[in-house]
Subunit: 319 residues, 4 copies
C-alpha cells in the first residue's frame, strides 16, 4: 500500500474542494493512503501533513475555496527547503504528490521531482484559464457564473437608469474571463489585453446606437488592459454623453459554490492524475484538450506562454 | 373612474418592479385607470406617460431595477417645469400620483402637491434604509442578501488563504447595510459613519486572535466612513501582519431578483398608498413602523435627518 | 461561571446554524460556558453533550440545516428518560437550556422544567410559521425565498408552453407559506387549509382570462388542503382546457443558505433567549410580535392553536 | 437580402432565449432578415410569424424558457399542414429555418425539407442530453446546476436528521442527468435506466457504512428506472433501517437563468447553424462532438437510438 498526498498552491479557485474530496475517495478505492498537505508547499516544508479518511472530506463538495488552504511559497524555490520537504515526505512514506495550481507551482514541482524523484502530477487550477497546453483550468466555469450573476444584476440597474457600466473582471495577462463574459451577457464592449484598443474607434458606432434609442451600455474589461476603467467611464460621459459607473468585481469571482461543470472536471482531473501516478507518468500535468485528457510534461506546459485560442479571439468582433 | 400614475425617482432598488406590477393590479381592482410615468419627474415634464394594463406588467415581478426607468430631475425643482408637469397630468385627467423614491423625491412631490393639489403618496425606496420616519425602505432586504452572498463567496477565499478582506458596502450617511451585513455574516470588524473609529483600538484584540490561531478577518465598512478602505488594508498588513485585500461591492448591491420580503413589502406599500389616496391622505409618505403602516406627512418625513436605531447601534459592539 | 446548552428538536430549518453560532459567541461574551446537545432530546438522554468554543461554529453561518442534528424523541415524553436527561445535565453542571423547535418540543421542555427546574427558553423554529403567539418562526424567510426561486423557474417553462402549474408548498395545517408565496410570485390561484374552496368557483373567471389571451396559470397550494393537486391539474385540463403539470416542492424548502433576515432573527432570538435565562425567565418561549420580542410562558404558546392573521387571510382575495 | 426564421419545438430548455437573442444579432450581422415563429410548428401552420429586430431580444439573455414559445405539433406530421406552413413561409420569402428541439422535431423538419426544400438546421435542445450524434444538447448544464442546488439544499436537511433521500431527476430513457448529478453531488447511490439494478445488491455495503457511522444517504434516480422511488424509500426504511424521504425535482429542472456554459453553447450553435445555412448545409443538425462542431444529416441523427458514452457509464461504479 502506497501513500499519496495532495496540496493546493497559488490562488484558490472554486472546484478545489470537490477535487480534494474525490482525491480521498479515489485514493482509497485504489488502495492508496491519502494525505493532506496544508497551505501549499509551505506545509510540505513545515511538515503540516496529515493522513485523512472519508470523514475529512464530508460536506465540502459544495464549498468554494479550499479546505486545506493554499499559499505561495518563496522558500520552496530554494533547494535547501525542498530537501526538508523531501525528508518530511520520506518520514511518512509518501512518494506521490498531486498539486492543484498554476504555472509557478508546476515549475517548483518539476524541480522537486528532478531532485528527489517524488512522482508528481499537476492539475491546472486558475480562474484566468491561462495555462499553456490545456483548454480548461479548474475554477473557470464557477468564476464565469459568478461574473454572469453580477453582470445580470448590474444590467438591471443600468437599464433602469440610462447608464454605461464598465465592469472589470479578473485576468491579468489573459482576457478569457472578460471575453466569454461579454459574449454570454450581451455586453456592448469588451476590452482585453490580447487586443490593443483605441477607445475612440467605438465613438461613431456608439453614438449611432444612442441616436437609435439605446439607453445603456455594458462594457466588460479585463484587469490586464492598459487603460484605467475610470478613464473609459469618463469617455462614455464626455464623448458618448451617458452617465457612467465603474464596477470592479474583485475577489467575489474566486468564491462561491462550485458549479456542476467544475465538480465534474475536478472529478475527472483527479481520476487522471491518480491513474497517471499509478502508471508511468512521473512528472506531468494532466491537460484537457480537444483530444481529451492528455498527460503533458511539466516542461512543455510551463515552457511556453499561454495564448488565447484565435477562434475565440475572433469572436471579440461579435461583441 | 379616476386616473392614477406611478413613477420611480432617484436610485433604483430591487423591489420597484413588484411594486409597479401590484400598482397596476390593485388600481384596476379599485376601478382606477393606471398610468406609467417613465424616467421619474423627467417623464412628467416630457409627457412620457402611458396608460397601462395587466399585460404591461407581465413577467416583471422577478426582475431587479425598474421597468419604467428612474432618474434624478433638476428641472422638477423649478416651478415652471412643475407647471408643465401639471398640465401634462391634467390633459390625461390624472389626479393621483404614487412615487417610489427617497427624501429628495418626496420634497419635490410635496412642492408639487402644494402648488397643484395633485394627490400624492410616497413609498420609501432606497437600499440605504435611511429615510426618517420609516423602519424599512423598499429594496433593503434584496441588497442585504446580495451583500451576504458576496461576503460568503469572499469568506471562502479568505479562509483558504490566510487573508484579511475589507469589504465596502453602500451607505453614504447611514451604516445600516454594513452593520446588518456584519452581524449576519460573522464579520470580525464593522465600521460605519455613525460611530467614529480609531483603527488602532482593535490592535490588541486582533493580535491576540492571531496568536490564538485566527487565520482570516472579514471587515465590513460603509462607504460613508472617513478612512479609505485601502488604508485599513494597509493597517492589517503592517500592524496585524496578515495579507489583505479590498473589495468594493458597488452596484451589484442594487440589482438582482427581488427577495420574498421585498416583494411582500412592495405589495403592502402599494396597497396602503392607493388606499390612502382614495381616502383622506393628500400628500403623505406611507411608513413602516413598530405600529404597522402609518401615513406621515411629507414634511414630517423629510424634515428630520435619519438616525440609526440606538438598539441596532448597540449591536455594533457585538461584532 | 455557569453552563448553558443548546439543542434542536423537530424539523430542521435554515437559520438554525446561525443561531447555534451566535449562541456560542454570545454565551462566551456573557461568561457562560456553551455546550451542544446533539440530535435533540435524544442526545440529552444518551449523554451526547459536548463543551464547545468558537472553533466549533466556524464556517457554519451560511449552511442550511443544523450542525448539531435534530430529532424527534418519543422517549423524552417519558418521565423516566427525562430523569436520565436531568442526571446527564447535572453531571456537567448545566442548568440552562435553549431549544430550537416547535410546539411539541416546547411541551417536552415545559415538563422538564416543571419536574427538574432546568431553566429553559424556546426559540420558535419551523418553516410552517404556525406557532401560536409569535408572528415569526425561524426559517420562514429562507423557505419563502427557496419557494420563490422555484416558482420563478417554473414560470419560465409555464409561459413558454401554455400550461397550468399546480405547485404544492409545505404547510400541513397552515397556509402561510402558500399564501405569501402566491402573493409574491404573482400566482393566479392559491388554496390553503384555512379557507375551504370549491374549485368550480374559479371556472368562469379563468375561462374569461383564457378568452382574453392568458397563456399560463400558476396555482400555489398548501400540502394541507383537502383536494389532491393531481385533481386540480385534471380540472385545469378538462374544465379550463389547458395542459397541466403538478410540482411538489418537497424538502428543498427546508434547505439552502440562510437568508439575511433569518440570520438576523437568529441573532436576536438568541440574544433574548440568553438574556432571559440570565434574568427571571425560567420556562418561556421568546416570541416576535408587533410589540417586539416578548417572553411568553410555554403554557401560553402551546395552549392555543395557531391561527393565521385575518389581515393576511384577507389578502387571499387579492390573488 | 434573405429571410431566415427560428422556432422552438418540444420541451423548453434554459438556453433557448440566449440562442434566440444571438440568432437575431448574428442574422442581422450577416445581412439576413430575422423572423420569429411562435409556438413551434403550430405557429408555422397558423402563420404566427413575425419579422424582428434587436429590440425584440432585449433583456432575454438571462431568462429561462423561450420568449417565442414552444409546442408539440401533431398537425405538422401531416403533409397537408406542411403545405400550409410552406405557403406561409413563401408569402414572407423565408427560405431558411433554424429549429431548437429534439429528435421528433428534427424528423418533422427533414420531411419538410424533402418536400419543400426549405433549408433547415436543427440545434439539439433537451435537458435529457439524449440525442444521438451530439455530445451536448442545449440546456443540460443549466439543468445540472439547478439539480445540484436542490441536492445541496436537501443534503443540509438529510445530514441534520439522519435520513435517506431518494431524489428523482428527469430523464425518461437516459440517465445522464442522474449520473452526472450523482457524481457531482457526492451521492451514495445512483440508479439509471441504462443499467438494471437489484436494490438488494447494496444492502451489505450500506449496512456496513451505517455501522461505521454514516448518518445519511443521498440516492439519485432517473425517472426512467423501473422501480418506484417510494419503493426504494421503503427499502431504506425497512432493510437499512434509516428514515427516508422521496423528492421528485420535476419541472424546476427546466427553468432558471441560463448558465454561462449554456449561453456560450447557444452562441456557438447559432453561429454554426446560420453559417451552415448560408453555406452548403441544406438539412442538417449541428452537433457538438470530440472533433468540434460538425454538421450531420438529420437522417443520421434521428436514425439511431442514443446511447450513453460507455466511459461515463463506467463512472457509475464510482458513485
Amino acid at each position: 500500500m502506497s501513500n499519496i498526498a495532495i496540496l493546493c498552491s497559488g490562488g484558490d479557485v472554486s472546484g478545489m474542494n470537490p477535487a480534494i474530496k474525490h482525491f480521498v475517495e479515489y485514493s482509497l478505492k485504489k488502495d492508496l493512503t491519502p494525505f493532506f498537505v496544508y497551505n501549499g508547499y509551505e506545509g510540505l516544508i513545515d511538515n503540516d501533513i496529515q493522513e485523512v479518511s472519508y470523514r475529512d472530506v464530508s460536506g465540502i463538495i459544495n464549498r468554494g475555496g479550499t479546505k486545506i488552504g493554499s499559499a505561495r511559497s518563496k522558500r520552496f524555490m530554494n533547494p535547501e527547503y525542498r530537501q526538508i520537504a523531501k525528508d518530511n515526505l520520506d518520514a511518512l512514506n509518501i512518494n506521490m504528490l498531486v498539486v492543484l495550481g498554476g504555472d509557478g507551482s508546476f515549475r517548483g514541482l518539476d524541480a522537486f521531482y528532478k531532485e528527489h524523484s517524488i512522482k508528481s502530477c499537476g492539475i491546472p487550477s486558475t480562474i484566468d484559464n491561462d495555462i499553456h497546453g490545456t483548454d480548461y483550468c479548474l475554477g473557470v466555469d464557477s468564476a464565469l457564473n459568478i461574473i454572469r450573476t453580477s453582470i445580470d444584476a448590474i444590467r438591471d440597474t443600468a437599464s433602469s437608469f440610462n447608464r454605461a457600466f464598465i465592469i472589470e473582471t479578473m485576468g491579468r495577462d489573459c482576457g478569457y474571463l472578460a471575453l466569454i463574459s461579454a459574449l454570454t451577457s450581451g455586453a456592448e464592449l469588451c476590452l482585453i489585453p490580447e487586443r490593443e484598443h483605441n477607445i475612440s474607434d467605438y465613438e461613431d458606432n456608439f453614438k449611432t446606437q444612442m441616436a437609435h434609442g439605446r439607453k445603456y451600455f455594458i462594457a466588460i474589461v479585463s484587469e490586464g488592459i492598459k487603460q484605467d476603467p475610470q478613464e473609459i467611464a469618463k469617455w462614455f460621459e464626455e464623448t458618448i454623453g451617458i452617465e457612467s459607473r465603474v464596477s470592479i468585481l474583485g475577489h467575489i469571482q474566486r468564491g462561491g459554490n462550485p458549479t456542476s461543470y467544475d465538480r465534474l472536471m475536478a472529478y475527472k482531473f483527479v481520476n487522471y492524475a491518480i491513474d497517471g501516478l499509478l502508471g508511468s507518468h512521473t512528472n506531468s500535468v494532466i491537460c484537457y484538450t480537444k483530444d481529451g485528457f492528455i498527460y503533458k510534461s511539466i516542461d512543455e506546459v510551463t515552457g511556453s506562454a499561454f495564448k488565447l485560442d484565435p477562434d475565440l479571439l475572433r469572436l471579440l468582433e461579435d461583441v
